[in-house]
Symmetry: C2
Subunit: 202 residues, 2 copies
Amino acid sequence: MREEILAYKRERILEEAVKLFYERGFTGTTLDDIAAELGVTKPFIYTHFRSKVDLLAALCKPTIEMSLAAVENAAASPGTPTERLHRAVVDFTRVVLSRQSNIAIYFREEKSLAPEALAEINALRRKFDHVLTRMLRDGIVAGEFELDDAGLASLAIGGMISWAYTWHRPGGRLKLDDLSGEMASMALRMVGARQTALAKVE
Amino acid sequence: MREEILAYKRERILEEAVKLFYERGFTGTTLDDIAAELGVTKPFIYTHFRSKVDLLAALCKPTIEMSLAAVENAAASPGTPTERLHRAVVDFTRVVLSRQSNIAIYFREEKSLAPEALAEINALRRKFDHVLTRMLRDGIVAGEFELDDAGLASLAIGGMISWAYTWHRPGGRLKLDDLSGEMASMALRMVGARQTALAKVE
DNA sequence: AGGTCGAGCTACCCGAAGGTAGCCTTTCCT
DNA sequence: AGGAAAGGCTACCTTCGGGTAGCTCGACCT
């Protein structure tokens, strides 16, 4: 119970930090700003995080982990390569859109991370690309995809989706589910998949 | 001639600033660092730029202008929508890869720009999306593309290409020309274009 | 009731970096 | 050659913000 309260305070700090870093940038936000928004003072933050940079890592890393988990999960799921890719794109898009601020902060402030934190995150990203590339290769072997370069295509798909953090406005024209569906059909067309192979999913 | 020397000095400052901002981040680079790299001192920079933020705008804006010019130029060029889209993707990819550092700095430091500079750049970006969306609609009307949502597809294509600034390594496996060609074929497949319509280009 | 413990606050330090005032040197013109 | 102007440097100011030492107040236990 004591533990839970501690965890809750930590979460609240992160939540407010994400909001402000997203709106004003990392450097443009002071710890005093965050504290003020929470109705506390700066030393309070220091009882939960070792430094401003530590706070940054704490809000980036789990989001990257979620992205990786989305594609890994899809890769391990049953179905044809086409179905697995569909699922990967839908789920990854969901992560990007639901954690848009965290993603934005990460890409903007990568250079501000401590070297070890950066190394950990980079390892996750390499794994992400690796899993996605593998999925595309499986599809080529199975004769479902037609691609010159699976590695490049995985970067292209990853980019097309990640990029959504720059333009998506929650409450905009397209809802999260529509968007992730559209993203998936664009990705499938891009890899040369026959959409008919997906009848049951769509 | 005097003017030319002035312009040259300005260019050199920008060049070094791009390099350092790219490597160490905007906040992580001091004006003293830039001056030191050039073998001069900080006040020298102030004879060419009004502030650090001014320097930032000076290195972002022209790059965004080049991106817009690439698609506008392709849109105004002769040929079928398929051919025009192909050209737009190839040329835009070239801009992104050749000005990779500038692009990276811009996306990372958008929040640090002065409001007016940001407004100008945002106007350019809106125009970029508009031109690209228009190009896709033309293709749909002409029966060459098959798309649910031209606006979304233009964001997807723009994102897939812009994203290259995060992973491209000059001197890597793929050369600039190969990359832009591959990007174009992925984009064409994504919009449902028949590749055969491009025989003469490829 | 009194004491102890700990959470959070007040108040402060200090380094770093953007920006500037005023001097020096070099060059070019007269 | 002498002088003036311009370009760049030395030396400085000032602000701001990350980080911390030490106090206070409230809660809980005895």
